[in-house]
């Protein structure tokens, strides 16, 4: 029995796709990395860790959120150095996990270097250690399963590409299945030991199935026609690089081996494509039929939906591709392979008739794409809101990720790193009765990383100009929707308006939708347009006092037609505006000017202002709140992702 009790794999209700993917990674260790995504509470962690119950000779190792680099990669052995004066290395988690399985929960929340280390080593089977005066290469091979909730932030495409398999948990809507889930969870919680015993037989069956599939795997063949379909699929789906092709082929073979077949059939390719290509697609899968219409028209869509289950490889009629009639291979894609596994495994592999020789035409690839698109739509992808920017923290807050030589001004010593630095010299140093003597030159300080958000300040013309009411309604809507989207509590949104002779901060930058709701109930409007005053005040707010030290990125969104008509200094309002713009530009603030000028002729004053401020200039045909919010989001986040 393992040290910890994990929920047994066969006792998990539903989630067939994820379970199959887990089986694949266990059967074929050449498959590098499985990523399980899904909403909170959809059993991601339980699924990943349940693999422990069906591993035969392996243990699972958990990578916690607090993992530091030295533990991941390995470091100098302090104890040995101090007590014996020997220089040795302590293996890190990655090296210790050779021939084991690694589970990384919420991998998207881990530090980037850590994620990179885990993925890179999984792929190459090598760790290069260049730390603490060591230079070593360690070989290690492990099975990797990771989980993440995309709502908390996505992984970059490069990182996603490193996962051979990626599956999403299903949302379970069947009443009886949900009841079963509650019952099993309660049972397991009350008497875990008993629960494990009850499922011992099933668990043993799965183990047996895995070992049989492992034996069969080397003999599984992919028919030439199907093999040719793979690159075609990848190209058509705009999958970059070769990893997708290779992963797809390996997974299809593994699926065939699990089903007890020696030949890969169309259905294997289809299922494998769903696991290996979806996360590698460039651009999102079409979310709704209209997005998709460049390729096929809507009528086709519904038609295909009907056909989907029965004749996946049938080419849609209106496809621009040539459409030779297809005959063969139809038998293989029946839903059979998804049937409960027990039936399959009892069967002697020899009894299965060899699949008829398969010929696939170009259209077959399309049916797979259709299948993927269909799934993509059904999964109702939510935009990920939890994008986080990470920055090296300059004070003592944040997550300790690494260390460096000490900067005298800061007193954030990394004890462990300093001890490691001192360790090699202990033999020759006078220790004055202590076990270890640390010299000043040994001291290392912590590098901490902090996740930061955005401060978005709206600066809105509330003077009595045209369309002010509509403008306010849109801004209010945009603020609330930004706050709602950003409710991972990283982004703050505020509102400052200028009218009459002054600028007033109606909503101090906040993360609270509640507060915004209350404070924005009424927005006063009317009066003249002290644009320069507004600008100066907005910049002041973000560069002085509370927000100045924060490492959050700052954006000011100015909604105006640029027609300043009130000046503070008594100068010409435009001259004053120009001066103000010159003063506030840069300073770590990003400006966006949203032109609200209406009617003809246009004076283009807002564009001039944008020029003065080096701002992004934006003109919306219609100042509608969701459009405004979306444009701002894309501006604010685009640069971070780049």
């Amino acid at each position: 029995m393992s040290e910890f009790m994990y929920f047994p794999f066969p006792a998990i209700v539903g989630q067939d796709a994820v379970k199959k993917a887990i089986l694949c990674t266990l059967v074929n260790e050449d498959l590098r990395g499985l990523l399980i995504t899904g909403e909170r509470g959809s059993a991601k962690t339980v699924l990943a860790r349940s693999a422990a119950s069906i591993l035969e000779d392996k243990k699972i190792r958990i990578i916690p959120q607090n993992t530091s680099e030295d533990r991941l990669f390995g470091s100098i052995d302090i104890e040995k150095a101090i007590t014996g004066g020997e220089i040795g290395i302590v293996k890190g988690i990655l090296a210790e996990s050779d021939c084991q399985m690694i589970v990384a929960d919420d991998i998207n929340l881990l530090d980037e270097k850590i994620i990179h280390g885990i993925l890179n080593t999984a792929e190459t089977g090598n760790i290069l250690i260049e730390r603490d005066g060591f230079s070593e290469e360690i070989k290690t091979r492990y099975i990797l399963a990771a989980t993440m909730d995309p709502e908390e932030g996505e992984l970059s495409p490069q990182m996603l590409d490193r996962f051979d398999l990626c599956v999403e948990t299903d949302k379970i809507n069947s009443e009886s299945e949900r009841i079963e889930i509650i019952r099993k969870c309660l049972e397991f919680e009350n008497e875990p030991g008993h629960f494990l015993e009850n499922h011992e037989n099933e668990t043993a069956d799965v183990r047996e199935k895995i070992s049989k599939a492992k034996e069969r795997l080397p003999y599984v063949m992919i028919p030439e026609a199907l093999l040719e379909m793979i690159p075609e699929l990848c190209l058509e789906l705009n999958v970059s690089g070769q990893r997708g092709d290779i992963a797809l082929a390996k997974t299809a073979k593994t699926l065939a081996a699990i089903e007890g077949r020696d030949d890969v059939v169309f259905e294997d390719i289809k299922q494998a494509a769903a696991m290996t290509l979806e996360h590698r697609r460039r651009g999102l899968p079409p979310q709704s039929p209209p997005d998709n219409s460049d390729n096929r028209n809507k009528d086709d869509e519904s038609e295909n939906e009907d056909n989907e289950d029965n004749k996946p490889q049938e080419n849609p009629q209106n496809n621009s591709r040539p459409n030779p009639p297809d005959k063969q291979g139809e038998q293989n894609d029946s839903p059979e392979p998804e049937k409960p596994e027990e039936d399959e495994q009892k069967e002697d592999p020899q009894d299965i008739p060899p699949p008829p020789e398969q010929v696939f035409d170009i259209g077959s690839a399309f049916s797979v794409i259709e299948f993927l698109d269909e799934r993509g739509r059904a999964k109702s992808k939510k935009a990920s809101n939890g994008r986080r920017t990470r920055n090296i923290s300059h004070d003592k807050s944040g997550h300790y990720i690494s260390y460096k030589h000490r900067d005298e001004r800061k007193n954030d010593i990394a004890i462990d790193a300093s001890l490691r630095a001192a360790a090699p010299f202990q033999k020759t140093r006078d220790k004055k009765g202590l076990a270890i003597r640390v010299d000043k030159s040994d001291l290392r300080e912590k590098i901490r990383e902090k996740k930061t958000g955005n401060v978005i300040l709206f600066l809105v013309d509330a003077s009595g100009s045209m369309g002010v009411r509509q403008r306010m309604v849109s801004v209010k809507g945009a603020i609330l929707s930004l706050l709602n989207d950003a409710y991972q509590k990283r982004d703050m949104v505020g509102l400052m308006i200028f009218r009459k002779k002054e600028a007033s901060l109606l909503l101090p930058p906040t993360r609270s939708t509640d507060l915004a709701y209350k404070l924005l109930k009424e927005i006063p409007t009317g009066g003249r347009t002290p644009l320069s005053k507004g600008l100066v005040e907005a910049a002041k707010l973000l560069t002085q006092g509370r927000y100045s030290k924060s490492m959050d990125s700052k954006t000011v969104i100015i909604l105006t037609d640029g027609r300043a008509n009130a000046s503070e200094s008594g100068k010409n309002p435009y001259e004053e505006l120009q001066e103000a713009a010159g003063k506030v530009k840069g300073k770590g603030i990003k400006y966006v000017v949203v032109d609200t000028e209406e009617g003809f002729p246009r004076m283009g004053l807002a564009m001039d202002l944008a020029y003065e401020l080096d701002a992004i200039y934006l003109r919306l045909d219609e100042l509608d709140s969701s459009k405004l919010a979306r444009s701002i989001e894309s501006i604010v986040y685009r640069e971070q992702l780049a």
Partner: protein, 347 residues
Amino acid sequence: MNNKNNPVYPFSAIVGQEEMKDALLVNVVNPSIGGVLIKGEKGTAKSTAVRAIADLLPEKRTIKNCIFHCEAGQTRYLCPSCRKLIESGKVPEYEDTKMRVVELPISATEDRVAGTLDIEHAITAGKKKFEPGVLASANGNILYVDEVNLLDDHIVDLLLDAAAMGTNFVEREGISYSHPAKFMLVGTMNPEEGDLRPQLLDRFGLSVNVVGEKDTGTRTEIIRKRLEFEKDPYKFCESYETVQQETRDRIEKAKAIINGIEPDDLLLETSVKISLLLGVDGHRSDITFVKTSAAFAALDERDVIRREDLIKAARLALPHRMRKLPFEDAKVEFDKVDAVISESYAR
């Protein structure tokens, strides 16, 4: 057993706020419900209630001298040394310890939360040793975070991590260690200071919204009691001792009863129907809803779960698991929920 040096306002003397008190009590009866998030404005007795619950917490049997207070009679959550002890076939010594409230200040640093390298030991003995952090003390206890919405992201990540499996894995500063960290998470927050990450929100078993009492009579009563307490806290606490003892007994009884309550099919079906009706995410709401209903029955000294238990449980287990839509407050349509419950329990 009040701390004599620093008397705490007695739980039973808190006026009103029945939902909050209920939420805390059911959690004490069944800690696996997973804690409670108390939302509300300043000055609504949130912190008072959490600190006061400490005085009512039951005793539990733990392995003697274990810094993690490993609980007796189970093998799932044990620290490495207790595991070794039990696996070697020895019978550990036990002691009764009181469950307590462990506070996590929002300024806490990562090393203090997760635990870290014992510096003193490293320097004097030249050996690595694990120095336990807050998550270690929280094992088997209540972990209380005031202003939980202001907690740093990376600390939240640590909490989520530990809460996921009831174990704290530490892999940092040269230390590799794991110990049980099963705690009841109790948080308070003022929504005006910002929202909570949905992932963390979901980890709270229950949530309550507290609002200040509006009734003048009740408000006067609150002032009177508070003044009385401040004048002579010892005397005040003493005057509540009988009521407090009654509540303690009630909790003990409920704890005994709840073990015998088997959630029946009707309860499970009703729970699932509600979840599907509301479209809540995941399955945690189902599980807490079922447990909370049972705890309410137990607190009422029944082993049969009734309609009113479900109605009370629904109000605590569901609201924070609803998806929020822009421009809308997440509101549970309780009349529909109640209709489902009444339909199922119409006997």
